[in-house]
């Protein structure tokens, strides 16, 4: 059974703190993604990694960075958390093997509150 796990379901941090969100997949997928989900806005892509140590900015990368040192793990970093980064964060992974119809597999999400 495929699995994407995220390190925390709920997280509360203070403004200015450095925050790490971890995502691990066990499917040997090449591509991994970080999204944020806000009511009425759907999911928006923050960063994308197409392989180890390879990353690409998504639509809303400001205030975030990422790290992918191992294939199975993709970390999202908030360098200095701000209240407007309070949101649900979703990680996903997908194989890149020759199909545009592949399914992205999602983790359960981390609900981050920045006070």
């Amino acid at each position: 059974d495929v699995k994407v796990t995220q390190s925390s379901r709920y997280l509360v941090k203070r403004t200015g703190e450095k925050v790490f969100l971890e995502c691990v997949q066990d499917m040997d997928h090449e591509n991994m993604f970080w999204y944020r989900q806000d009511p009425g806005l759907g999911l928006r892509l923050i960063y994308f990694s197409y392989d180890v140590k390879m990353k690409e900015k998504g639509d809303i990368p400001e205030g975030y960075s990422v790290s992918r040192e191992k294939k199975e793990r993709f970390s999202l970093i908030l360098e200095s958390a701000s209240t407007n980064q309070t949101s649900m964060y979703l990680c996903a992974s997908i194989t890149f093997r020759m199909s545009s119809y592949n399914e992205q597999f999602f983790g359960p999400g981390t609900r981050l509150t920045v006070l």
């Binding site: 999911l43 994308f48 545009s100 592949n102 399914e103 999602f106 359960p108």
Partner: protein
Amino acid sequence: AQSVTQLDSHVSVSEGTPVLLRCNYSSSYSPSLFWYVQHPNKGLQLLLKYTSAATLVKGINGFEAEFKKSETSFHLTKPSAHMSDAAEYFCVVNRDGGATNKLIFGTGTLLAVQP
């Protein structure tokens, strides 16, 4: 450029009645289209996907969607709603015709099912 528009942010139906969730797309490529569902406090799960093999696509839990190129629509339907269908539904298009696995999400439709 690719985009999807979900025409209703909220839909309420009675148990046992049909469900219709509307989605229009815009794509300069032959689109890859998906519907994902998110149950409360759960990650996103793929319901169905349009692969160009057939315009009527059957998914899990009795859902189906019809790809209509002339109307640029990909509406999700189910003949008879069940209480367990209450969730948020996202219409999704592949961002760049499959060159990468990046997706564009609609803003979501929250389905309520009344007893």
